[in-house]
């Protein structure tokens, strides 16, 4: 177990510079975007009010107030672009976390495979690292959302602001954030568990490629396709417009069982490949 923690720390420390860059980029783009949109809004208000000596309160009465959620949807590009970049980056790193070991003249995989520990520790460390990074990014978004809201409060005059929203209602009323941070913790575990399953399946495909090279690519693609097909099999078999043959709780239990089976099978194949087939 001690070995696992050390390997996990190694993965984290190899990625931390890039990771901090993702944090910084998100903070700058979202903060900058919200600041820009808030200032633009204040400018529009001032322009519309003109030289006449009317107050913000009067303006709010005529044109309505603005909330942080309104600004968020106005600044959508600045807000969602860094999230998309983080998702893309993490998607790419699912592959890089393996392939970087084979890069360079002195391949690092030599040393890793020689370590006096079970090889599956290596696998689990990589999987945990990816999950940690992804959830870390979500945690960072949760941290900076109140800060961005404070930015909104400081730029927009009190009289122009609508009622204050809690972080929960900002997230649950946002079309995309409510997927990243679902309503209940159970859903959070379900969603990110689904993400972990996806990573496990991708890792299996990568290990197939590393073990059998060209033939492995074909095997990997077939494996991913088979996993997807298995997941949607209940819908395909029912072949109904509304998927209403099974009751909702039955569909949930069946899908959960299939997901667990795919996960266990993928882990078994991956551990087998790592122990018996993986070579430098």
């Amino acid at each position: 177990m001690n070995r696992f923690w050390k390997l996990l720390h190694m993965e984290v420390s190899r990625f931390w510079k890039l990771y901090i860059t993702l944090f910084a980029m998100t903070l700058l783009m979202q903060g900058g975007g919200i600041l820009y949109v808030c200032n633009r809004y204040m400018q529009t208000v001032k322009d519309k009010m003109g030289p006449a000596a009317s107050t913000y309160a009067q303006y709010a009465e005529e044109h309505g107030v603005v909330t942080f959620s309104d600004i968020l949807s106005e600044a959508q590009l600045y807000f969602l672009a860094p999230i998309a970049l983080c998702i893309g980056g993490m998607g790419l790193y699912v592959f890089l976390i393996w392939y970087r070991e084979w890069m360079g003249k002195n391949m690092f995989i030599y040393r890793l495979l020689m370590l006096p520990t079970e090889r599956r520790h290596l696998y689990v460390a990589k999987l945990s690292a990816i999950l940690l990074f992804v959830i870390g990014l979500v945690a960072f978004q949760l941290l900076i959302l109140p800060l961005e809201s404070a930015l909104f409060t400081s730029v927009i005059d009190q009289a122009l602001r609508g009622s204050t929203e809690s972080v929960t209602s900002i997230i649950q009323n946002h079309a995309f954030l409510q997927i990243l941070v679902p309503r209940t913790f159970t859903e959070f575990v379900m969603y990110y568990g689904g993400g972990a399953l996806f990573v496990i399946v991708m890792f299996t495909a990568i290990l197939l490629e590393r073990s059998y090279r060209l033939k492995g690519i074909a095997a990997g693609v077939i494996y991913v396709g088979a996993a997807v097909l298995l997941m949607i099999a209940p819908m395909l078999i029912m072949n109904r417009d509304m998927n209403d043959y099974l009751y909702p709780n039955e569909i949930f239990i069946i899908e959960l069982t299939i997901a667990i089976l795919i996960g266990m099978m993928s882990l078994a194949i991956s551990f087998f490949l790592m122990n018996k087939k993986l070579s430098v």
Partner: protein, 396 residues
């Protein structure tokens, strides 16, 4: 340990941030609306549920016990079919009692039930090429034997789409009343292409033995259109000899922007005894815009009409053709519903929400209540004004 600070910090940070968020979200408090009795028997409103939404908090159910918010529900509750169909207790009951038979059966109008038989008939929907089939299933409630078959629909190529409004059974003959949309090439208005059909299904022969067009939209010489619609009754599964339909005369008019719209010049109500084919006009029904349609039950038609500070409830007996009416003191009728022999009316005006329950047999009010919240001053007014109720149902 010093070497690992970044990893440790990352894990602590994740636990702190996500943990704080979900603890805060779980401890969020929601406004607790409640249905309070003003006069009458508390028990009348015990199972009444008012479904609505409130800005900032999402959808909720208000009852005499308090409020339940969808956002407070656990993740797994969304997989419960009785929760999903809570607005339709008739279906919830059937899902509970006949779980196997009710698979893939989700339309209330398609159900028929008497002491001996439970029947279901619906058209395959969604794809044009599959619409030509009618799925029929029956369950013998005594022997529990199930029969199901698919029957070809006569002249199906003439129709784009069809759906079932009511199903009735007589011995081995199942009658299906449906609205069919005729195919049209010239993109004409849909309203002019409706037909009300009566299909007779022979359960022994497992096929449709007769297809009758009861009513069809017609265009008159003066440009007016006569359209027909069948009203579904509540509870829709109940055996019923008399069906209620509406005949509307419509005219195409142009508004000031030149857009075409239909204007109803006449709306009449009729009853149809499907066994004898006899139709009778419900002469006492006048649709003058100020009234609200409540619905058809197995033995009556009920509607309301606002008259100043009270609403006049009219109860038209389908068998005796007797008309009874009585007044309930509400400034408006926002929602109404009939369950058993009780009429439920919600009147929502600004921050006041009044609930009235009336006994239709005796023609008198048995309960008056209001939605209230344990808040004071501006908050109270704001919350009550923002509350929107869109449906009422009685929980079984």
């Amino acid at each position: 340990m010093k070497r690992y600070w970044f990893s440790i910090l990352l894990v602590v940070f994740i636990l702190g941030s996500i943990g704080t968020y979900y603890v805060t979200a779980a401890s969020r408090s929601y406004p607790d609306f409640k249905l309070l009795t003003v006069s009458g028997d508390d028990n009348e409103a015990k199972s009444l549920v008012l479904e609505g939404t409130i800005k900032g908090y999402g959808s909720l159910d208000v009852s005499s016990k308090g409020s339940e918010y969808e956002q407070e529900e656990s993740y797994f509750e969304q997989f419960s079919i009785s929760k999903r169909y809570s607005y339709n207790q008739e279906m919830v009951q059937l899902f509970k009692e006949h779980r196997g038979f009710m698979r893939a059966k989700r339309s209330t109008n398609s159900i028929y039930e008497d002491e001996k038989t439970l029947a279901y008939a619906s058209f395959n929907s969604g794809y044009v090429d599959r619409q030509s089939k009618l799925d029929v299933s029956t369950l013998d409630l005594k022997t529990k034997s199930e029969q199901s078959f698919t029957a070809a629909v006569p002249n199906h190529e003439q129709y784009n789409y069809a759906y079932v409004i009511d199903v009735q059974l007589d011995g081995q003959l199942l009658y299906i009343f449906s609205t069919n949309y005729k195919k049209n090439d010239n993109e004409e208005r849909i309203a002019g292409n409706l037909e009300i059909h009566k299909y007779t299904v022979d359960l022994n022969a497992k096929s449709i033995s007769k297809d009758e067009v009861l009513f069809a939209d017609t265009k008159q010489d003066n440009g007016e259109m006569v359209t027909y619609s069948l009203e579904s009754s509540m509870p829709s599964k109940a055996p019923n000899d008399v069906l209620v339909y509406r005949k509307q005369t419509e005219k195409l008019v142009k508004d000031k922007d030149g857009n075409e719209m239909t204007e109803t010049s006449k709306s009449e109500l009729f009853t149809l005894n499907w066994r004898t084919g006899q139709t009778t006009a419900v002469s006492s029904f006048e649709s003058n815009g100020s009234g609200e349609w409540v619905g058809v039950t197995a033995d009556a038609i009920i509607w309301t009409a606002q008259q100043g500070t009270s609403a006049r409830v009219t109860n038209y007996d389908l068998k005796t053709r007797e008309v009874k009416s009585f007044d309930i003191a509400v400034p408006s009728v926002s929602s109404s519903m009939v369950s058993g022999d009780r009429l439920y009316v919600l009147s929502k005006e600004g921050d006041s929400a009044k609930v009235v329950i009336a006994d239709l047999k005796q023609g008198k009010v048995v309960y008056t209540g209001k939605i209230d919240i344990n808040e004071q001053g501006e908050d109270r007014t704001k919350l009550l004004t923002n509350l929107a109720i869109f449906n009422l149902y009685v929980k079984k």
